[in-house]
């Protein structure tokens, strides 16, 4: 077996190990992206209301 496929095989525990690391990646990524998206939405929302108030 080559080095890489042996590494991916994880001594027969590939499913358990890679599922764990995959879920960790997804959960941590989602948790970090949500404030990025929220901040963008907040800033554009506040900018819109400032412009609206000025127009009146």
């Amino acid at each position: 077996m080559s080095g890489l496929s042996e590494f991916l095989h994880m001594g027969g525990y590939a499913f358990y190990v890679w599922t764990s690391y995959g879920i960790a990646l997804v959960v941590l990524l989602a948790t970090a992206l949500s404030p990025i998206r929220q901040r963008r939405k907040l800033l554009s929302g506040i900018a819109r209301s400032v412009r609206r108030n000025r127009a009146q």
């Binding site: 590494f7 994880m10 001594g11 027969g12 525990y13 358990y16 190990v17 599922t19 764990s20 690391y21 879920i23 960790a24 959960v27 941590l28 989602a30 948790t31 970090a32 949500s34 404030p35 990025i36 929220q38 901040r39 907040l42 800033l43 506040i46 900018a47 209301s49 400032v50």
Partner: protein, 245 residues
């Protein structure tokens, strides 16, 4: 001098600016520690003599479980500072911590479950450690739900702080559950007072990942706090100036 610094730091516009400056550096440090932790943990560390390669789940599972407790203590601590001194910034940090703590708790539970299947032969048992950690997840979700249910931010902050403080009772229960009750979950191998019973080649990636998760929390809690500040201060002059620049 120090108290003046605290007052300055606690002022929302100043904190917003300083946090924004720290976030990229913390994120870079997180990435470096994660890469080092993954390389040492998945490539360099030898297989365990009993569990083979399955034990490598530990490098996610254990730091996530540590963080689930650490973030809760930060949330409860900041929440009580908000209760006692009415510090707005403490309220912001407390509520911003909740979703991150929930994510870590969820990760600890799910990776534990995936690790339990090949080692214990079951995805889940209702033992003391697992059950008290599940209660921790419900406490986090309860804090988030309660905060969302109350419109006034300051009232919401006080209510969630009280809920978080009541839930602190669960923290020592989680920590000592493996000693107080006869459980399937193994006892601690690192956080005990005598020498850790873990190979140093496994200990190093574990500690690297623990630091990485701390840095992750620091990064994301600052990002969330900035959003929370913007929302609370949306009608103030400095926020209006900020969006126009």
């Amino acid at each position: 001098m120090i108290t003046r610094y605290f007052h300055q730091l606690a002022s929302p516009p100043y904190f917003y600016r300083i946090a924004g400056r720290f976030i990229p550096w913390l994120a870079v440090a997180f990435a470096l520690f994660t890469l080092a932790g993954l390389y040492t943990g998945l490539v360099l560390a030898p297989p365990d003599y009993q569990q083979g390669d399955s034990y490598r789940i530990m490098f996610i599972h254990v730091p996530a479980a540590w963080m689930s407790l650490f973030v809760y203590m930060v949330m409860a601590g900041a929440g009580s500072m908000g209760l006692i001194w009415r510090m707005k910034l403490a309220e912001v940090v407390a509520i911003s911590s909740a979703p991150i703590g929930a994510s870590f708790t969820f990760l600890a539970l799910i990776t534990g479950s995936i690790w339990g299947k090949p080692m214990w032969g079951t995805w889940w048992v209702w033992d003391a450690r697992l059950t008290s950690e599940l209660i921790l997840l419900f406490l986090y979700l309860g804090v988030i739900a309660l905060h969302n249910a109350i419109d006034d931010k300051r009232t919401a902050a006080r209510a969630t702080a009280i809920l978080a403080l009541v839930g602190v009772v669960n923290i020592p229960i989680i920590h000592y559950s493996v000693e107080w009750w006869n459980t399937l979950h193994q006892g601690p191998t690192v956080t005990k007072f005598d020498k850790p019973s873990i190979d140093v080649r496994m200990l190093i990636p574990l500690l690297l990942m623990a630091v990485a998760f701390k840095l992750y929390y620091a990064t994301v809690v600052l990002m969330r706090s900035r959003c929370e500040i913007l929302e609370r201060e949306r009608n103030t002059q400095w926020v209006k100036e900020l969006v126009e620049s």
